[in-house]
Symmetry: D2
Subunit: 341 residues, 4 copies
């Protein structure tokens, strides 16, 4: 365990550059061994100041570079499927940013490919599973102290949406976090989804159905409701209340420093997820590095990535049809027994 | 304004006896002038220690008693319609406990009767409109400071339900409070309702669909969701978060004294509504007495009572059918322009 | 108990007028029977709209007026001693606003006069004893659930001080509330006091030592510290944390509606004590009316008024000397065994 | 910056072993190059599983070991002075756990030694400066948004004290954290101290004066009060409220997950500082490694270590004498202009 884990990072954009910084300067036990990006200039900028990192424009070249022990995929979603299959072919452990693969058909091909290998190589980057508050909630639910979970009430608010954000993306990009979190917290698959559409906020871009109210049903008879509001303007808030048979628990409430001034006692609400979930990204990558160095694979599986994309697709259909849509999953390979932790 | 308002109280059960105590010992400017209850013994017990209160077994006799200036109806729901019409016939101001009349058909007859009078005589006892926190929220929404309301997220939890409580009563008895509160807060009629049914909590009586998750749509394009859970076991909680275009506001959060002991910082959650809404009842009756002595009628109207019962009936049909049910109101008489404050 | 208690109100200034309104329109079971104020015009204005209230310029005339059963003293402090002794002479129950008597010498004369009567007639208006949160804290401490109290940490902040407010008044006017509250909560006399003086806030009037930090020692070995800051500018805050052997409890924290907007989750801080303690005044007067109609005297005694003034005088000497000053009380008459509840 | 910083860790006890784990597995950019502990067995256990770490029993041998670029001192306090001077002699950057040196005389010798070098080599391990909440408070105070700080109200509670903990250690071990935090937050020296002693809690060991209430005065006219209670039994709590001219700010309040069950809404209070300040230790060591690799020295200086020990000694004298004790510092070398950040 004394050697550093050599990581090939695929993609040197916003997310990739951040992971390069994280591997080089934040987490312990890893080093950046290679970087691949079609834009070589961008890749070189991302590794400035790091010794001995060769920059490539092709994925295959980066995976084949000397000293590469594992792969972190942070390229755009459409490139993920090919990259995952290439890593599988070389028997390299992978951490793949979400969405694992755009579209459930491609996601299913990845599941089938890993299932053929007969053992897990890939972890999908659902970072909320590494957030301190979510982990406390998971641990409380797993303890059984509050009895069976009946409902999850979730809030997902962003200050504003990026250009080009569509009504469907409120579900398949934003709510996809709640989809994975709900599956993980409840250890149950989601079986149906309905989407309600209030009259859009005047602060939302023309034509965007924002906010939306999404309601999932689960295999165990629980409900999961999500308010998603991506142009709320007033702060980034991710909250979750689990209502159980003997009590309820909430995370994501405002906390930390309380300032009393000018007739009000107030607590800051962060602007974006990089503030709220900064530690979760660090913990996720550290956990992946630690597990990989021990030859283990933990965290969200490609089955989780596949199931999330099927649910998100059903959600988009429910948004479009205005009705309730059931979720149909392919049979789950034995490799992924249970919803993974 | 110097004379005390003489009130005939109809019904001397749990609620009636409490109102008799309130009129005699808590609010200013009123006195109990007569009481009617079919059970004369119960009525006598309720007025023990009060001077000059004659007890009757018939409503008409109580209304005709000397010194009666106004009527407070606290008898069982099925007796309300006749009592309201009798008060209208004698031109007596009325405060009528909820439900105004069981069933929307009877409620509509009361609306039509008052509309024929051409002026309001009756106030319906939706006491949340007198709760300090609800009033603050109403005042904030009316101020426009947060922009247009988009969603109300409501929680309604009771420790346990009384014997005989049915699945329909979660809606037409419990959620009826949220129905009125939503109409009042938003100043909009509710237009459709869907009911989702998680697998019942193991603490709920056999056969009771508890909890439920109820979702209303409004005339102005807002959504109102309500978690109703009447056998939660862990405390009485009534919460409401209004999500608006420029901010959100929450009421009903735990507050008051925080005790830190044995590894936890905790705040008490009350057992029932009598603790949580004690002041609201006092304020409601005081406001009714004050207005009546000035010859005015304020508060929730019989139209509000009627509209609430139509929405609740639609809710029960949605619960039974599992689908979305639209709300159909009779034309609103001019006397009730706007949702009343 | 059916007749209304006829109250003579002495003083028709700000506080007196408010009590007249309260007796006439808020509390149950009382009526204003007479009012005395040297300024007859002001008195007439205060009783406008009330039937049958005769206005006097002399205290004696008001006490002798027909229908007077009890006295509420709301005149300026220097007039209190004479008014109390006059009420004692006529055997009338009294509610006397704080300060009971300015200066401990006069306060002691009142104690001795009532002690000679051999029974209590007077209650002193320390209204915090009627605040819901203080009562909960008192009840928790009395329960012994948290063990023996070791320290009270108190905060007393006002937006701004009225004209003419002196450095000594931070103690004998503002902190006097904490002096009584501490004696009542702990059921112990205060035995010594030290005053620390930070460099004054720039928002304080020239020459005013504001804020101050006052530290009391008690007969039972507890400490009571008070931050008093009467020109804080940012809100009215009265907080108290009791630290006990097995836990701590806090009251006066911000609560009620939480508004999230513009990057902050905030709760309103009230401007003044009339908002924070509005209910406490109502409850105090209602409790006094109820007890008096039953022929009982409850609440803070004149001994409490005396002890508070002795402690406040010691505090002012500690402020002036910069050192620790011990508190010397006269022997306590048997009539006032224990610190009264 | 590509080579890992080789750190010699002095001391392999509880704290030393934790730092070895942190350098090896948590922070980025460092490796353990040598360890010294008189107990070689303990040292070997602490480095089990780490490659190429030589264990020594002598400080000098560890400092002279190949690959040592910097020193982390985690040995018992009495060994610190010699270790610091040895590191200075070899021109090695140092992170020294608190207390820097027991007793102000030795601390002054360290200051003088570094001042003779003419540049800073050492950082003292006051880890609260790296806690997220403290940093937010510091940043708010430095911004001037709330005006000049007038008072700090601090709470320092431990569940229980270790065996052998003395009354003086409440000040020179526990409150020493608040001494440094106050100097840092206010950017002012502390000039006088008074200690008040409530009757000890029955849960405190026989003879231990616990709790204590400590009051500091500062060069800028502010006050700092500290409740220190090391056998409170109910949880570990470190809180700080800064009261400024235009507002107040609080940190250390209970936060994170709120659980509502059995009639109470509660938030967990941690057992000890390792939970509350876990991240602060990680951040401190990461910041030290990062700065050292860049050839810089940041964080608390040996002057801060010296000043803290002088203030703590004055506090212990105040505890013993019952009176106010002024703080006398040696002249500050130019190297340490200002209270360091």
């Amino acid at each position: 365990m004394s050697d550093l884990l050599g990581v090939a990072v695929l993609g040197a954009g916003h997310m990739g550059a951040d992971h390069i910084r994280r591997l080089a300067h934040v987490v312990s036990g890893a080093r950046v061994a290679a970087v691949a990006d079609p834009d070589a200039g961008r890749a070189k900028e991302a590794v400035a100041g790091l010794d001995g990192v060769v920059v490539h424009t092709e994925v295959e070249a980066a995976l084949a570079a000397p000293g590469v022990d594992a792969v972190l995929i942070a390229s755009p979603g459409p490139a993920h499927e090919e990259a995952l299959l290439a890593a599988f072919a070389r028997d390299l452990p992978v951490l793949c940013e979400k969405p694992m693969v755009p579209g459930s058909a491609g996601a299913l091909r990845v599941v089938e490919a890993e299932a053929r290998l007969g053992r897990r190589l890939a972890q999908v980057g659902f970072m909320r599973r590494y957030d301190t508050e979510y982990r406390r909630l998971k641990s409380l639910l797993d303890s059984g102290r509050l009895g069976r979970p009946l409902m999850l009430h979730c809030t997902h608010r962003n200050v504003s949406s990026p250009p080009g954000f569509t009504s469907a993306m409120l579900i398949d990009s934003s709510v996809s976090h709640e989809i994975d979190a709900a599956r993980w917290l409840l250890d149950q698959e989601l079986t149906a989804v309905s989407v309600f559409r209030p009259r859009p906020a005047s602060g939302a871009p023309e034509g965007l159905l924002d906010p939306q109210f999404v309601l999932f049903e689960t295999a165990g008879g629980a409900l999961v409701d999500v308010e998603v509001f991506v142009n709320c303007g007033f702060g980034y808030q991710v909250r979750c209340e689990a209502v159980c048979e003997q009590g309820s628990a909430r995370i994501g409430e405002e906390h930390a420093m309380a300032v009393t001034a000018a007739g009000a006692a107030s607590r800051e609400v962060p602007d974006d997820y990089l503030v709220r979930f900064a530690d979760a990204y660090d913990r996720e990558v550290q956990a992946w590095v630690d597990a990989t160095r021990r030859g283990r694979v933990t965290g969200a599986s490609v089955w989780d990535g596949y199931a999330s994309s099927v649910v998100a697709e059903a959600g988009v259909r429910a948004l479009e049809s205005g009705g309730r849509v059931t979720v149909e999953l392919a049979p789950r390979p034995d490799l992924y027994a249970g919803v993974s932790r």
